[in-house]
């Protein structure tokens, strides 16, 4: 009898701890990570997935402040203004048990500089990374780089030995469709380890009990089940039925429905992300239009007219149901270099747009293809459809091709689209990041997401000089002058800044991150 009660007591104890520990975060959003390779595809949802399992030296909290992660502290070197010294966290282990050391940092930086890496623009100014000892790293740049730490918040650290042993030292050729060991397997230092992954179907992660911060962070989620659900109604139905308890891409039309439902809440915050259209102005002739021998988009008047045809207020009111802020520049308000004046420069003026089209010699309009993702941004396809109608009013016949992001993004990076939708978040909170990817002429290691064909040598030089400009006032003046040129050239057609909505069960405790990067180690579960 006594024995039985002991067993019962033990069982009760075990079950109570099991209840505390077994908290599954059933997490859904519209799309999946494109790849798990840490240095391929500098893309939000891909980073989100990696952030659970891999870690960079530094991350940002929801206010944008730096949080030491794999580095405990960092400072410019006293001896050399071109060098930053990072002290690494001690006692950190990778998921396979290997120690995290300076050697892994050096290796990861080298890997991220490879041609196939999508992170190379962020660290283009770095000339050398040296291991001083096991837990100290020196990073040397081609000039003093005051904002270098900002560029490292999505630069994940891999284990050198694991990567070499599994033949996955080279970053995958994503556009070429390459699959490598690192695209589907993970060995990071992060708070969660990968259990299984079926791309576009389901990814399962479990808590890493050996995590260095196991006692510093809540880490109340013991298991993460991540399911991409492209269809908005299905996604909301899953949240309402309890099939998922954390929904990242809340459809704007269902906010009231979810917020009013028992046990569910919607949390909101402005997002550090701007949505815009890019136009190929660099080509002599466009493939996807009906004008031969000429490129209508090369004429700045046509680009201005297109921007003037877009009714951003209507998109905000109807398509976004108020969950956006019309944009006049392709920088979110979080970013150094953003000004309210420039962000207010977009206006809707159909008559003026038609006059500009006629002036440019396209009074009868032309036809063009618009490439658009359908599972990446909030109501991306609906925005593109609305743009089709709006551009139709100034005579531009737009053929819409809305496809999943996994096929859409390579079109931009491969230069296979003349008119496309793109959204850009700015993890560095500085305009240089935008210029490096979207404004600098396209070269092998810079301007890789600039699908406009715009390439201005003076501007390129100015952009490059930003990295080593230590006089912040002069640097800001340069940033302003670059923006002026981007605005005057109507390099892009800004649409709006997104507002983030996360839907979740009341038991899930987390605040919305302006970069749309939930980090599950911060989650509490009631």
């Amino acid at each position: 009898m006594k024995k039985t009660s002991t067993i019962l007591a033990v069982a009760a104890l075990m079950s109570s701890t099991a209840v505390v520990n077994a908290e599954t975060l059933k997490w859904a959003r519209a799309g999946d990570a494109l790849t798990l390779d840490p240095h391929s595809q500098n893309e939000g949802p891909s980073h989100t997935m990696r952030h659970q399992m891999y870690e960079p030296l530094i991350i940002r909290d929801t206010s944008g402040a730096f949080v030491p992660t794999l580095a405990t502290d960092w400072a410019p070197s006293a001896d050399n203004p071109n060098v930053w010294v990072f002290n690494l966290r001690k006692g950190v282990k990778f998921h396979d048990g290997a120690d995290f050391t300076a050697e892994d940092v050096v290796f990861s930086f080298e890997r991220a500089k490879q041609p196939n890496s999508d992170m190379k623009e962020l660290i283009g100014s770095i000339t050398a990374v040296r291991a001083v000892d096991d837990h100290t790293v020196e990073i040397e740049t081609d000039g003093p780089n005051p904002i270098l730490p900002s560029n490292l918040t999505n630069l994940f650290m891999m284990d050198k030995d694991w990567t070499e042993a599994n033949n996955t030292v080279n970053v995958q050729d994503f556009e070429g469709g390459e699959i490598t060991f690192a695209t589907t397997n993970v060995n990071g230092t992060g708070a969660y380890r990968l259990v299984s992954r079926e791309p576009d179907v389901k990814t399962v992660m479990v808590r890493n009990e050996e995590y260095w911060g196991r006692n510093d962070f809540p880490m109340e989620v013991s298991e993460i089940v991540y399911t991409p659900i492209q269809n908005a109604a299905t996604r909301v139905a899953a949240l309402l039925s309890g099939e998922v308890n954390f929904l990242q891409d809340m459809p704007v039309q269902d906010l009231a429905r979810v917020d009013g439902a028992d046990g569910l809440v919607v949390k909101q915050a402005p997002q550090n992300r701007v949505i815009f259209f890019g136009m190929n102005q660099g080509a002599d002739d466009l493939e996807a239009d009906n004008i031969d021998g000429k490129n209508p988009l090369a004429d700045v008047r046509v680009r201005k007219a297109m921007s003037m045809a877009i009714n951003r207020d209507a998109i905000r009111q109807v398509v976004m149901r108020g969950q956006s802020q019309p944009a006049g520049m392709i920088a979110p308000p979080f970013v150094n270099g953003w000004t309210a004046d420039m962000d207010g420069e977009s206006s809707t003026d159909l008559e003026g747009a038609k006059a500009l089209m006629a002036e440019a010699g396209y009074g009868d309009g032309f036809s063009i293809r618009l490439d658009c993702p359908n599972d990446r941004y909030i109501n991306d396809e609906a925005i593109c459809q609305a743009a089709v109608g709006m551009l139709g009013q100034i005579g531009i016949t737009v053929n819409l091709d809305a496809i999943p992001k996994a096929q859409h993004f390579p079109k931009i990076t491969d230069g296979k689209t003349d008119f496309y939708m793109l959204g850009w978040g700015v993890p560095t909170y500085d305009s240089e990041y935008i210029f490096n990817f979207l404004v600098h002429g396209r070269e092998s290691d810079i301007g890789t997401w600039n699908g406009t064909g715009f390439n201005n040598a003076d501007l390129n030089a100015k952009i490059k000089s930003l990295a080593s400009n230590t006089d912040l006032d002069a640097r800001n003046a340069d940033i302003a002058s670059i923006w002026r040129m981007v605005q005057d050239e109507q390099l892009y057609i800004p649409i709006h800044h997104q507002v983030l909505n996360w839907g979740m069960s009341e038991s899930v405790g987390i605040e919305v991150d302006p970069e749309d990067q939930p980090r599950v180690k911060y989650f509490t579960m009631k």
């Binding site: 269809n231 908005a232 109604a233 909301v236 139905a237 309402l240 459809p251 039309q253 269902d254 009231a256 429905r257 996807a288 009714n311 209507a314 998109i315 009111q317 109807v318 398509v319 036809s367 293809r369 396809e381 609906a382 459809q385 609305a386 089709v388 109608g389 709006m390 551009l391 139709g392 009013q393 737009v398 053929n399 819409l400 091709d401 809305a402």
Partner: protein, 320 residues
């Protein structure tokens, strides 16, 4: 399979074709007059088909013309003035500010056109291959009917999706929207020919041993003439029955493909596309975007199907 013995070469057929036809006609009218179901389905079908044909005259807006759209009209409930523009719409508007009533009329045109064209395509292909298989027998028959058997093992919607996918892959993106309708017709037609081919083959096997065919052969008519001029007219009635029922199925197949997002493009919505657009707004209470197109599709498919059923009963009493 190739040389089926025909057990009853002389079927009871006491009337000549012309009198038979006349008799059928009067039976037909008699049966029609005494079947309320048939009359109601015929009325609904004709009403829907006519409103689709005359859509440009009935519809208040042309939903395919982007220049007439005003996004601010989006999500207007039926019979309620829009908060921004003050405009009122009979069945409300969808997410892009399109009048749902006009969009249904135009969408029905696409649905019906695809349905009719796909069935026509399937009938022509099915009759052609069925006649060949039935008349020549031998390896011709084996090849055609084995192909048919293989295709029958897949659900037809799967075959249609496969064909649609391949066709979409080989058409340039610029022409995809214009091509989408034709590709739909091809996909649904190709997935549907088997039943026509089987029926025609069976009937041809029966007919080809009859005296009138032997007579035609004796006077030296070419096989193609015998098949088309002599056999075909005598096997058409079951084909017509299947065609009517197929029409309803083709309309639903088109709606299914478009609902899955592989059919008619959002800029040229068919009923299925409209339902796909509408189902995203069910939770948020904008029921009319889904409700009215779904009701129209239901009415259309049901009335055509009921008509087909009735037609089968009348033309082929043995199937009752």
């Amino acid at each position: 399979m190739t040389d089926q013995p025909i057990s009853a070469p002389k079927e009871p057929q006491s009337v000549t074709p012309s009198r038979l036809r006349r008799a059928l006609d009067s039976d037909f009218y008699y049966a029609f007059r005494h079947s309320p179901v048939a009359m109601v389905s015929a009325a609904v079908s004709i009403l829907l088909i006519l409103s689709a044909v005359f859509a440009p005259l009935i519809a208040t807006t042309n939903p395919f013309d982007p220049t007439t759209l005003n996004l601010m009209n989006g999500f207007t409930p039926p019979m309620t003035p829009n908060a921004f523009t003050g405009e009122t719409f009979l069945m409300g508007t969808d997410d892009q500010g399109r009048d749902v009533f006009s969009t249904i009329l135009y969408g029905m045109r696409i649905s019906l056109f695809v349905g009719f064209a796909a069935v026509l395509f399937a009938v022509v292909l099915g009759i052609f291959l069925g006649l060949l298989a039935g008349y020549f027998g031998g390896w011709t028959d084996s090849v055609i009917m084995r192909a048919a058997d293989v295709q029958l093992t897949f659900p037809s919607i799967l075959v249609a999706m496969l064909i649609f996918g391949i066709a979409k892959g080989i058409t340039p993106v610029e022409h995809r929207d214009q091509m989408a309708i034709w590709v739909l017709i091809l996909a649904i037609g190709l997935s549907d020919w088997v039943q026509f081919a089987r029926v025609v083959r069976g009937a041809t096997l029966v007919e080809k041993n009859k005296d009138y065919v032997s007579a035609a052969r004796l006077i030296g008519r070419r096989p193609s003439a015998i098949m088309i001029r002599h056999i075909l007219p005598n096997i058409l009635s079951p084909v017509l029955v299947i065609a009517t029922i197929s029409l309803a199925l083709a309309i639903i197949a088109e709606a299914t493909l478009s609902f899955l997002g592989v059919g008619a493009p959002p800029t040229q919505p068919s009923l299925g596309t409209l339902i796909r657009i509408g189902q995203g707004y069910l939770f948020s209470g904008e029921w009319w975007i889904l409700f009215f197109p779904a009701c129209t599709l239901l009415a259309l498919a049901l009335s055509v199907n009921m008509l087909g059923d009735w037609l089968r009963d009348v033309l082929n009493p043995r199937l009752k």
